[in-house]
């Protein structure tokens, strides 16, 4: 996780375009100023950042399904449940599955596990629009390369 840049996904583990699922990995930093306040003596990952992590995993899934032609943005979070604490240094497996593809929006079910234990889950709604700026498209291409996006998934 690059918390300072709000880039929370480290690596794509699996992308299944047929099943419309994605699994990614994200390691919580062992140290961050966030943990100095949240909380002193008992550092845990803020729930909002876990939600953002699920949203970013969902975003990569939708971006893939849209063949990088449109950019997804977080629109709504439904039924988010924080089921257990996430501590500094833990390695998260984030999974998302597309449950509905609407006109200009998509809905996923996403969850975060540490090992085999479910730590949180939510339904995520994303809207998507044509890339509003070429710089953003270039940035997403660069991040895709960094996190090991499987380019062959975009082949017809």
């Amino acid at each position: 996780m690059h918390l300072d840049y709000f880039q929370l996904i480290d690596r794509i583990l699996d992308l299944n375009m047929d099943e419309k699922t994605i699994a990614v990995e994200a390691q919580v930093p062992k140290e961050s100023t966030i943990f100095e306040g949240h909380f002193p003596g008992y550092p845990i990952m803020p729930g909002v950042l876990l939600i953002e992590t699920m949203a970013q995993a969902s975003g990569w899934l939708v971006l893939s399904l849209l063949k990088f032609e449109r950019m997804p943005f977080l629109a709504a979070v439904k039924e988010a449940k924080m089921r257990g604490f996430v501590r500094p240094g833990e390695v998260l497996t984030v999974e998302a599955k597309l449950v509905h593809e609407g006109s200009g929006y998509a809905i996923t079910d996403a969850r975060i596990k540490v090992g085999s234990k479910l730590r949180c889950n939510s339904t995520i709604m994303l809207t998507h629009v044509p890339f509003p700026d070429p710089a953003l498209r270039g940035h997403m291409d660069a991040v895709a390369k960094r996190i090991g996006f499987p380019q062959q998934a975009l082949l017809p």
Binding site: A75, A76, H100, E101, G102, S103, G104, Y105, I107, M125, T127
Partner: protein
């Protein structure tokens, strides 16, 4: 079997917490019921699921923005229900083709 309007009105009432008896076929979803674009996405999702269709919201929005259609054509509920019925019929016709 409830009518398309009854189903849509129930969806709107439950999704947006609007009293069911204030929702009529002549209600404009935006102007009369005060539904914003994000809430309308929730409604579209529920309608898509309930009727097994995909409301072409982007196409409608583009037509309105281009001045080729009015919001009344798509967002007055009786008109919305007509569109839904057309989409359901088109889907049924497509599903039956070649069988």
């Amino acid at each position: 079997m409830s009518s398309t309007f009854d189903q849509v009105a129930t969806i709107i009432a439950e999704t947006c917490d609007i009293p069911r008896d204030t929702i009529t076929p002549d209600s404009h979803a935006i102007d009369d019921l005060g539904i914003d674009s994000l809430d309308f996405l929730d409604i579209a999702f529920a309608i898509d699921k309930a009727f097994g269709i995909k409301l072409p919201l982007e196409k409608w929005t583009q037509e309105v923005n281009d001045g080729k259609a009015t919001t009344e054509q798509y967002f007055v509920l009786k008109n919305l229900c007509t569109r839904i019925d057309e989409l359901v019929a088109a889907k049924s016709a497509g599903a039956g083709a070649g069988t």
